[in-house]
Amino acid sequence: MVSREEIEHVAKLMRIEIDDPTIYERVDKMMGYFDILDSAGVESEEISVREIPIANLREDKYIPFDEKLIEKLNHYKGTYVRAPKMI
């Protein structure tokens, strides 16, 4: 069971404004469905990870882009991204 307050807290952290009242019930239902994982009996299971050797990564080098990428942004000034005031 996930409370309304918990949902609102997470939404705030994720910068999401909730204006759909059905979201509480649906998120709770979805989280409730995840409870099935409790009966999977996987406590002692090791988590496998995909390893990629550093040698397989591409070289970290500057590749010139043939256009002014900044011009593709919605909000920019000179060479800076334009953002709303933080304070």
Partner: protein, 481 residues
Amino acid sequence: MNIKISALQFTREVKSGNISVEDFIAKTMEQIHNVDDKLHAFLSLNEKAVDQAREIDKKIKSGGKIGQCLGMPISIKDNICIKDTKTTCASKMLENFIAPYDATVITKLKQQDAIFVGKVNLDEFAMGLSTEFSAYGPSKNPWNTDYVPGGSSGGSAVSVSAFECVASLGSDTGGSVRNPASFCSTVGYKPTYGLISRYGLISYANSIEQIGPLTRTVEDAAFMLNLITGVDPNDNTTVDNKNEDYLKDIDSGIQGKKIGIIKEMIGDGIDPSVLSATKNAISKLEGLGAICEEISLDMVKYSVAAYYAITATEAGSNLARYDNLRYGYDFPVEGYEFNSYIEKARKKLGPEVIRRMILGGFVPSAGHAGKYFLKALKVKSKLTRQINDAFKKFDLLISPTVPILPFKIGEKINDPAALFLIDINTVTANLTGKPAISIPYAISNGLPIGIQLIANSMDDKLLLQAAYALEKTVKLPEVPI
């Protein structure tokens, strides 16, 4: 001119001079204009397609170097970037986003002289399995327009099924290529994880999603794989397939191959007509010399919960970039404080995306991570171990692609748990990185049923050979459009 031909037939007809690319593309665009008002597969069209076809005809006539696609009309799911083309992800958030570069698959297809006829519909950011969550409205199933075409690559499946192109590229995170392929009676292929570059695919859940082709025939899927697989320095999860030719020996047959029937995928909740079609397919495979036996993978029961916990977490992270500063729509920054601006801007995201982002905030958070995310990763590990063990005994695994028939538009949209369970047969291949294919197999009450085959990692060639053998045992009616 007959546009109801496969991709390989198209290339043969063009090579032999029986058809011109310009005529074929013009006819295909006419078909789109005739049927797409009803089906809504396309979100945008390439208005230069006929001009591009004319150029390819000129190249052919002059004996110039020409790629293997020879001007083949292909549709592209609208979460794959084509340079200087709108890429919306079926979201209002990206309604005016113009991709500044080509995805690797697009670069490869351009090199082979493919023509992209347009970008096709999906559930917003590929989150869904019916296209009902597209911000631009659902696509309709060409077999019965009251029904969903599946998703999230619903537009891809509809466009292939309704002869609006000869092949399409979709993306498969939990069945998003195979599910609509099954619902619309096309072939849908999810490759081994890493076989196809994801560079230029707008990310949803990077650790499990893959681009895959939707085609009319299994041979066409093999043809497409030949063109788009391989190592890409821009995607370090890609694997070297040593330039495998997936078309070569596709008719090798399946004599002596061992096929496991996944017990958990033909159990509770399966539609009787789907079960009957699956049993029939198994008999056909046995008739072709395969040895079929039941196998249990008990982690399948938990796979959907694990899949949604993992994908929501990755989605929560991936979608954080949509703050409307770098990507987004026209919404001025003046007069807003930073956080409130982003909150307001994100109102353009649809309800399913918002729900999954919130889930993605919960699942890995302090106090919840151990209960949900870590357990989901452990289920993924155990399921992978179980399926690897299964492939020590079997060459292939079989199940219905989807346990139910296509459902009516609106029928399940308000029941997330019911929608989740539709993924039960497809998510295993994604969580374990295995290749899987949906083959059109039967029609019940006018609605298609697909059969899924799964192979071990990098056994894509074997998988296509088996799918080809099964495909040859059925003759299905033409789509009633």
